[in-house]
């Protein structure tokens, strides 16, 4: 939770700096953010590849639950595609790109901001922050009415880190492992799906 607040604080700080014209605009013109993004993706790869012990734990999962990330992704994209019918300014592909953020708001907003402009980047940031907040607040209710997989699915890519403490409080330990696995796979899908929907 603390890191989420820090991330949002940096976005707000950036917005205030932009409003005050305090820094020159060469920061954006020179595509600095694209190179920082390349650096970020490299290190995201390093951190996933470095954690081998992580992958071994996944062997304990019941095989059928390995499919859960697929249901999450298809469900989210379907929901966002339906929502685009109600939105005038956001196209079908853009809303699917935003949905592909799967709650991973930092990465998805950076990608969408880069490919589709700052306005959609901000929309992606807000949408995916709201998703994480929903997952944190409603995990107990989701378990009660929609089964033990629902809070994991709603948490999306965050089910392995920020929302894991809440999820593991409402489900048994074997589902907490599913939650970590689900977060890992969904997390990995974010850069691929977001760039896919931004590019087609």
């Amino acid at each position: 939770m603390k890191s989420s607040l820090i991330i949002v604080a940096f976005f707000v700080l950036g917005t205030l700096t932009g409003l005050s014209n305090f820094l020159p605009s060469f920061l954006i013109v020179n595509n600095i953010n694209l190179y920082v993004l390349y650096g970020l993706m490299f290190f995201v790869g390093v951190s996933l590849g470095n954690d081998v012990g992580f992958l071994k734990r996944f062997k304990q999962i019941r095989p059928r639950y390995l499919l859960l990330p697929l249901f999450t992704i298809v469900g989210t994209l379907g929901g966002c595609a339906a929502a685009s019918l109600l939105l005038i300014k956001v196209s079908l592909l853009d809303s699917m790109a935003i949905g592909s953020g799967m709650g991973y708001y930092s990465l998805s907003s950076i990608f969408i901001g880069e490919y589709r402009g700052a306005e959609l980047g901000t929309l992606a940031l807000l949408t995916n922050i709201f998703r994480e907040i929903i997952a944190l607040l409603f995990a107990p209710l989701l378990v009660k009415y929609f089964g033990k997989l629902a809070p994991i699915s709603v948490a999306g890519a965050t089910s392995m880190d920020t929302t894991l403490p809440v999820i593991s409080r409402v489900v048994e330990p074997q589902y907490a492992i599913v939650s970590v696995y689900h977060g890992f796979v969904t997390d990995f899908s974010v850069p691929f799906l977001v760039t896919f929907f931004c590019m087609i």
Partner: protein
């Protein structure tokens, strides 16, 4: 898109090659890069009067999109849950 994926795969390979060493600094570095990039995104937003004027609109659109995505994932994970528990009972 090609570059991003290639770079990420390079990172994945390097991380795996160095799996015997715990790279503790990486998560901190990721956090710093994310903060820097979100600062820049915010900077771009703040520098554009058109986006600032429409922020409240973006907020309501974000509400709708997040609710839609969440509803979709609840529906499918619920069906999956019902199916898997039914199968468990049969076994």
């Amino acid at each position: 898109m090609f570059w991003i994926i290639l770079i990420m795969l390079c990172g994945l390979g390097s991380g795996y090659a160095l799996r015997r060493i715990r790279l503790v600094f990486v998560s901190r570095l990721i956090m710093i890069l994310i903060c820097a990039l979100l600062f820049l995104l915010g900077f771009e937003v703040g520098g554009s009067p058109r986006i600032v004027a429409g922020l409240h609109m973006l907020g309501s659109e974000a509400c709708l999109l997040s609710m839609a995505g969440v509803t979709g994932s609840i529906m499918l994970s619920w069906l999956f849950w019902l199916w898997s528990t039914k199968r468990k009972q049969k076994e």
